[in-house]
């Protein structure tokens, strides 16, 4: 199974330079694989580096260190032209449906731009393709002549998805695609993404700040904290038997519709704020907020290792 991974990330690191010679350790040695056809959920609080991981994957941000392989090719070794060609297979859907569409372009031009950029088809063929794509995301093909401001957030997100699909990609980074939407619309967009996955055999990296959304769509889930992966497991397993206190806390924070049910769950409420990635805590980065923190957590960093088949976690409690 490991050999067929569509995306392999090894020891991905991104440090941003900050004032006074300091560095922001946005992503600090993250490794995981994404299998063809699966949805890999990447979860964590704001500022944990999940978006940076997604952007590095598409080389929209140049990683400081590490290795990214897509379908066996080392992305970071590719030249400008080769990378441009490969972009047809890698796409992204953004969180903010307002800033992700150019307000001065018509919807048809936005969706058709990838085709123009890669010189695919003539004018009429591109027009037909745009109409098809609008239908695929369940919008009226006549919308092609309108401007983005005439649409709601959910509709705009569909337009963004249509743009990402235009080049028939294999892999899409969905960077919090529903976080900015109304709850009622969230489900529609998640369902659409799932339908598209079946229809076109897509592979997703689905980034989210909460575990609730990811639960429905993900095959496997990775949990990030302060630039590091703290737990990675098949979705069902992660939700039922979380091995890292941070994952447990995230799960406990999901609001439940039935108040009776909450009592069955371990209650972990985290205090305090996420420490600054400028100067992350020593040892286990979570020890400052962990309810089970021990003396050695402050000194040594727990290894990220397999605690059950396919289930990885970085915590001394599992030893």
């Amino acid at each position: 199974m490991q050999a067929q991974a569509l995306v392999e990330i090894k020891n991905l690191t991104k440090h941003f330079p900050a004032a006074h010679g300091q560095v922001v350790r946005a992503v600090d040695g993250v490794s995981f694989n994404i299998q063809k056809g699966e949805t890999f959920g990447l979860v964590g609080e704001s500022g944990c580096g999940k978006t940076t991981v997604g952007r590095c994957l598409l080389r929209l941000i140049e990683p400081t260190n590490g290795e990214i392989r897509f379908d066996g090719q080392d992305l970071l070794q590719l030249g400008k032209g080769e990378m441009r060609a490969l972009r047809r297979r890698l796409q992204i859907v953004f969180q903010d449906p307002y800033s992700s569409l150019n307000p001065r372009m018509k919807v048809g031009d936005i969706i058709g731009e990838p085709l123009v950029v890669h010189s695919i088809g003539n004018k009429q063929e591109r027009k037909d393709r745009v109409a098809d794509l609008l239908k695929v995301v369940k919008l009226d093909p006549d919308y092609a002549n309108r401007y983005p401001h005439q649409f709601s957030g959910g509709q705009r997100q569909r337009i963004g998805i249509a743009r990402a699909l235009a080049l028939n990609p294999d892999f899409i980074v969905a960077d919090e695609p529903v976080s900015a939407l109304d709850v009622s619309v969230q489900a529609q967009v998640v369902n659409l993404l799932q339908d598209l996955q079946e229809q076109f055999g897509l592979t997703y990296l689905f980034i989210s700040h909460g575990l609730a959304v990811v639960e429905h769509i993900s095959t496997r889930v990775g949990v990030m904290y302060l630039g590091k992966l703290v737990e990675l497991a098949p979705a069902v397993e992660l939700y039922q038997t979380p091995k890292h206190p941070y994952t447990q806390a995230l799960l406990a924070s999901i609001p439940l519709p039935d108040p009776e049910q909450t009592r069955d769950r371990a209650r972990i409420a985290l205090g305090g704020e996420v420490p600054t990635p400028l100067n992350p805590p020593s040892g286990c980065r979570f020890h400052t907020r962990c309810p089970y923190a021990m003396e050695k957590c402050k000194i040594t960093e727990p290894e990220f290792k397999e605690v059950a088949p396919g289930h990885f976690a970085a915590c001394f409690l599992n030893e």
């Binding site: 952007r55 598409l58 929209l60 990378m83 441009r84 060609a85 972009r87 047809r88 890698l90 796409q91 992204i92 953004f94 969180q95 903010d96 800033s99 992700s100 569409l101 150019n102 307000p103 001065r104 372009m105 936005i110 731009e113 990838p114 950029v117 890669h118 963004g160 743009r163 080049l167």
Partner: protein, 274 residues
């Protein structure tokens, strides 16, 4: 647009038409000098009369015709200087803002500041003095001192717009830098430039008048408002209207462009809309 802005637009439209059709409108050839009529004193000739509505200048040229033809120089300078300097400014500002890094350091950290540290009119005077006075050199000099303002403005706008997700989306698609700048960044960055440009036209008209007043503008006999002011200076006591009328023309034009600029600023800024 607000009332003053519309008023400004009307004035500018009138001046443009006057400039365009100057030979048809002007009652006399602005370059032709005439002798005083028998029995007419110098002082009488200055005064407005039925034949010469705004009087004649020292050389017997019709002041009204000269003002009408002077509009040509002013409008040309206003439009061309703004066009050229905005073009240079947008190009350099966009490159500086989009690429950042050492390119930005070179342009905005060094070049902008060097240009801004010169007293601009003095630099223009030096350039025209060096190149020789002519309409072309005047426009060139004013453009060279004018582009920095546009470049700074566009650089700032580009810095803001390039962070939007639709720019990242374009990069994810594999769009070339040139296309990203032209298709995505500039259309969303250019708006404040419109205001700056209309204010810039006022500045250019004023600078042209100043340089012509100093004899460094359009060489005679081509009429220009600034040189008319200069020519009339010795007769300030006897015939103040020779200064007042071209002065009013300069003032009206500059005021109108400023009104339009302010009106546009308000009109384009949704936060100021009531």
């Amino acid at each position: 647009m607000n009332r003053l802005g519309k008023f400004g637009l009307v004035i500018i439209a009138i001046f443009f038409l006057v400039a365009l059709f100057a030979p048809l409108i002007a009652p006399y050839d602005p370059r032709v000098q005439t002798q005083a009529k028998p029995g007419q004193s110098r002082e009488e000739r200055y005064q407005p009369s039925r034949e010469h509505l705004l009087g004649q200048d020292d050389l017997g040229r019709d002041v009204l015709s000269r003002i009408i033809h002077g509009a040509r120089v002013s409008m040309q300078v206003g439009v061309l200087v703004v066009l050229i300097s905005a073009l240079i400014g947008v190009l350099i500002g966009a490159i500086s803002g989009y690429y950042g890094g050492w390119v930005d350091h070179l342009f905005s950290g060094f070049l902008f500041n060097v240009f801004m540290s010169f007293p601009s009119l003095l630099l223009a005077i030096a350039m025209v003095a060096f190149l020789g006075p002519s309409l072309r050199n005047l426009i060139l000099a004013l453009s060279i001192i004018g582009w920095v303002g546009y470049a700074r403005l566009i650089r700032g706008q580009v810095l803001k717009v390039r962070e939007y997700d639709f720019v990242t989306a374009a990069r994810a698609i594999g769009t070339s830098d040139v296309r990203i700048v032209l298709q995505h960044i500039l259309p969303n960055a250019i708006q404040p430039l419109i205001v700056q440009a209309s204010l810039g036209m006022a500045g250019a008209v004023l600078s042209e008048a100043s340089l012509s007043f100093l004899g460094l503008g359009v060489p005679p006999p081509t009429p220009s408002w600034g040189s008319m002011l200069n020519d009339a200076r010795p007769f300030l006591r006897d015939a103040p209207h020779l200064l007042i009328f071209p002065g009013i023309a300069v003032m009206l034009t500059v005021l109108a462009f400023n009104f339009v600029g302010d009106g546009l600023r308000e009109w384009l800024d949704p936060k100021q809309k009531r």
